[in-house]
Amino acid sequence: MFTRRGRPMAANSKMVKLTYREAVRAAIREALVRDERVFLMGEDVGRYGGCFAVSKGLLDEFGPERIRDTPLSESAFVGAGVGAAMGGARPIVEIMTVNFSLLALDQIVNNAATILHMSGGQFNIPLVIRMTTGAGRQLAAQHSHSLEGWYAHIPGIKVLTPATLEDARGMLWTALEDPDPVLIFEHGSLYNVEGELAEDAGPVEITKAAIRRQGKDISLITYGGTLSKTLQAAEELAQDGIDAEVVDLRALRPLDTATFVASVNHTHRVVIIDEGWRTGSISAEIMARIMENAFYELDAPVARVCSEEVPMPYAKHLEDAATPQVPGIVAAARRVVTGHE
């Protein structure tokens, strides 16, 4: 159905132009068409068309039973997703932002993640939860955080971070086919990104990291909203003669250690770019795994570019300063490769 690196097999068919938002919408639409057990529920997914216009038009096509507007009751509708999944449905639950998902943390952590194991394998939860994450739109400290790394701490769930159109289009169906809860984090700055995608693009696998740029001098490991910044940084580094390899993790749980360790074994230098806060972050976990698996391969200490440890500020210059940016990634990579700025 798809290749190891997550590319659809039919990648040589006709290409169409679309946005990340349209790719997500196409994925939801396909799921609703393919499986009558699938339904979408969340705040303003119906009449309003989705807070970020992802589900625009779906209410007209599929009706209010399957495109279900919910009250502002994150805990109840996420928990209802868990229950409906146990009851044989295939819910896609949309939460407006990762910050709001904290109101449903009880259902995600205490129920969705535990029930299969706690019940001795009797009740699995085939639930997909989608939510927006990340900064970059001046939405301040209650709409902009990157807590996907936090969720990756929790066994029992899977955490996906589609950074490309292909993954925005392809991860949802695979997640719906998964017998266990899958959380999909869509970075808010990506919805308007436009690109080309095969007209018949379809499901992609969801457990492997992807090499988005090959290089030999340094591995830049990232995911989600910072992938495009990292690729830009790699182009700038190339002008300085530094050939960077860019690893897109794609999934934070399970974390594809083999792929990034192979990259490290090849380049011997690493910078991790993570929009989460540094302390206790997924970047820290990646560093730990590099220490465990590739310590003697390293030619320099592993470096990180993370968000500043502040609640996300509103003012544009402060928000930019608080989050990973291209110049910072370039500088960090240069330091690791050359030993100086």
């Binding site: 159905m1 499986d35 057990r37 339904f39 039973e65 399957r66 919910t70 009250p71 009751s73 805990s75 109840a76 509708f77 996420v78 928990g79 209802a80 997703g81 868990v82 229950g83 409906a84 999944a85 146990m86 009851g87 044989g88 449905a89 819910p91 009880d106 259902q107 205490n110 129920n111 029930i115 299969l116 194991h117 706690m118 019940s119 001795g120 394998g121 009797q122 009740f123 699995n124 085939p126 066994p155 029992g156 899977k158 695979t174 086919e177 998964d178 017998p179 266990d180």
Partner: protein
Amino acid sequence: MKPRTNNKRLPLQRDHALHLLKEMLRIRRLEEKCAELYTATKIRGFLHLYIGEEAVAVGAMEALQPEDAIVATYREHGHALARGVSAESIMAEMYGKVEGCSRGRGGSMHLFDAATRFYGGNAIVGGGLPLAVGLALADKLAGRARVTACFFGEGAVAEGEFHESMNLAALWNLPVLFCCENNLYAMGTALGRSESETDLCLKATSFEMPAWPVDGMDVLAVEAATQRAVLAVRSGGGPHFLEYRTYRFRAHSMFDPELYREKQEVEEWKKRDPIVKFTELLQRQELLHTDDLAQMEKEVADEIAKAVDFAEAGSWEPVEELTRYVYSERAPHGSE
């Protein structure tokens, strides 16, 4: 809707009466044995006994069908037993043995059983309500005339999840029966010390949900009220709320010194013991014959003894299986 009391007696048949009595006795004796085994350190962790409240689980389960779903709390031994989960697998679970209904992973607070659609003891107060809403939503979407019965204590009404779930179930007209077991204390906090409005049915009616109080010490009243509510829910009448007024005779858990209530109060409630009162009723109506009770006690004692033997003889899940079922073992649905 105006809250109503519902004490209508069904025509009482001897077989059915004896069945109800025996079901309550099974719970009582199982739990007395659990307390003993806890003291003997055979059972560990938290142990929350249901003694005094048996009429609720027994009467309510009588009103439900095998295709219906149950969501319960951490005080759920009685519900599981009355639902048809075997005493053996419950006891083995409390021992932490792999033969337990949750393979020893859940213990007393997390009994699960797919065969009887028993969706668990949930140990987060209020945490089971959204699950019940979702189970009912799946039934509604699939066009199945099934009911999801969700049990919770009156302490749960202080949780946001209670209000969110009641609203969602009523808004979407979902087939949920909200079974509130009001035993007057949320652990040690009396209802009046935690709620500005202590009329629980009033809370339900504020969501436009039919609600009425039931004498939770009277198994026939529980059965009749629940049957009436289940019928309404199953026939598309939307969610209903029942407040079973009951009382826990034992401490909250095995660690509770009961500083928050008077011994006198407990003694007063014990006069309304659902098993004693029902036995007396059956004797008055001459439905309970001379040897019935002794015979019943013997059968129950044998069942409990067998359950203990089963648990004792059970095995520990191999440590190599510790990480089994963190994720499913089977292939995803429809994978090619």
